[in-house]
C-alpha cells in the first residue's frame, strides 16, 4: 500500500476504452491512483493522467462531462499532467481524425495521418530518438524529466493511426514514414504517444519518473 501522504494520481475515465492496464502499472509502482469519471475527483488529485485509445472523437467524453475544465484547470494550476496516446494528442490543437473537436492547444500544430508510404495503423515496438538536450548528460534544467535514465534508442509499444508533429516541447521522436512526437514535455505538462503501461521495463521507468515529478 502506498503511504497515505503519497500524492494522489487521478486517471481520468471519459469512456474511451480500457483503463485497467494503466491503473495496473501505477499500482505495480506503488502509486496512489484513482480511476474517476468525476470532475471533483480530478480537482482533488495532485496529478492527472489522461489516457485514451481509439478515435479522436472519443474525446467528446471529456467535453460533455465537465472533465475537460477540471483537467485544464489542474494543468494550468501546475499539477503534473500526463497524456497517454489520445491523451497526448489532445494536448495539440486538434486532429484531422475528427476536425470538429478541439484539443487543449497547449502545443501548436495538429495531428495528421501517416504518409501513404507506410501501413496504418502504426502498431508495434518502435525506438525512441531522444533529443540531445534531453539526454542525461544535458544540463539539469534542459534534461527530460520523463526520460530520466531511459537509454536512447529504447523500444516502446505503439498503436495509433494519427501522429502529432515534432514541436519545441518534443523530447523524443519516433520514425514511421516520417518523424513524429513520441514524448512532449513542457513544465508540468507531459505526453507520450506510445503506451508506457505496455512497454515493459522502459515504460515502467517512464511512469515511475512521472510518479517522482514534484507537485
Amino acid at each position: 500500500m502506498p503511504p497515505a501522504t503519497a500524492p494522489t494520481i487521478a486517471i481520468v475515465d471519459y469512456g474511451a476504452g480500457n483503463l485497467n492496464s494503466v491503473k495496473k502499472a501505477f499500482d505495480y509502482l506503488g502509486a496512489k491512483v484513482v480511476v474517476t469519471t468525476q470532475p471533483e475527483a480530478v480537482a482533488a488529485a495532485d496529478k492527472i493522467v489522461l489516457p485514451g485509445v481509439g478515435h479522436f472523437s472519443a474525446l467528446v467524453g471529456l467535453d460533455s462531462t465537465g472533465l475537460r475544465d477540471a483537467v485544464l484547470q489542474g494543468a494550468r494550476a501546475g499539477k503534473p499532467f500526463l497524456g497517454i496516446c489520445l491523451g497526448m494528442q489532445w494536448l495539440f490543437e486538434g486532429s484531422d481524425e475528427a476536425p470538429e473537436f478541439t484539443g487543449a492547444a497547449i502545443f501548436g500544430g495538429r495531428c495528421r495521418p501517416f504518409p501513404s508510404s507506410v501501413k496504418s495503423p502504426h502498431v508495434g515496438w518502435n525506438s525512441l530518438v531522444v533529443r540531445e538536450s534531453s539526454l542525461p548528460e544535458a544540463s539539469a534544467r534542459e534534461g527530460s524529466r520523463l526520460l530520466r535514465n531511459v537509454a536512447p534508442d529504447s523500444f516502446v509499444y505503439y498503436t495509433h493511426s494519427f501522429q502529432a508533429p515534432v514541436v519545441a516541447a518534443t523530447t523524443a521522436a519516433s520514425e514511421y514514414g516520417a518523424r513524429f512526437s513520441a514524448v512532449v514535455e513542457h513544465e508540468n505538462i507531459f505526453g507520450v504517444q506510445f503506451h508506457p503501461e505496455k512497454s515493459w521495463s522502459v515504460g515502467l521507468l517512464i511512469l515511475n519518473n512521472f510518479c517522482e515529478v514534484k507537485c
Binding site: 480500457n18 485509445v53 521495463s201
Partner: protein
Amino acid sequence: MLTKRIIGCLDVDDGRVVKGVQFHNLRDAGDPGDCAAAHARDGADEIVLLDITATSDNRHTMLDVVSRTARGLFIPFTVGGGIRELSDAEAVFEAGADKIAINSAAVKDPTLIGKIAARFGSQAVVVAIDARRVNGGFEVFVAGGRIPTGRDALQWAREAADCGAGEILLTSMDRDGTQAGFDCELVQIVADAVSIPVIASGGAGSAQDFIDVFRNGRADAALAASIFHFGIENIGQLKRELQAANVPVRWPC
C-alpha cells in the same frame, strides 16, 4: 524504426497451457501465468492466450486464468476463444486483456467486430482467421478448425479490416504445430491486401522460418507456441538470429 514482433502464444485448455499438432494430440506445457512471464523475460513482444476448447462451462476458469496471467505482465496481452458477444469481450477486458481475438463469432456476425471496436477501439480487436489450402485457394475454417465455411481467406480478411478489425491473426492449419515453416504464400497475399498488421501463425520451427515470413510473407508479426514452450528455441536467441539477418527486432530489450 518499427520492429517485427515475436508473439508468444499460449494455447490453454482447462487452465493449463497445451500444444497440439494440427489442432490435435495435446501436450501439457505448464501454467499460463508462468509461461507468459517467462516469455516476457525472454523478450517476447506480446502474449496471446487462446482458450482452445472454450465453452460456457469453463468461462469462469478462463477469466480467472486471464486475470492471473495479466497480473505483472507489462506487454500487450491478447485473449481469444469463446468470445461470442460484446459482453464476453467486456468481461475479458475487465479481467486484464488489452486486445481480444475473435474467430468463429466474427464469421457468423461480422458486425461484432465493429461493436467491440466502437467500445474499446479498433486496436483492441484482433480477428483470427484459420485457413487451409483447398482446391488451390485458402478456405476459412471455424470452431477450432472443425467446420469449413466455404469462404475465401483473403476476402474475409479484407471484410474484417473494413468492419474495424485492428489486426489479423492468420493461422495456416496445414502448418499448425508441424514446425515445417510458415505458409509464406498465404501470409503474403493477405498482408498485401489489407492495411492493418498481419500476424503470421502456424508452422514455426526455426529462426529461418521467421526470417522467411518477415521477408517473403511480409508479415508484421509472427506467432509461435510449441517452438518456445519446450525450449526448442528461446525468444532471445531467435531475436539475435533475426538481428544478424537484418530483420529489425526489439533487441536488446
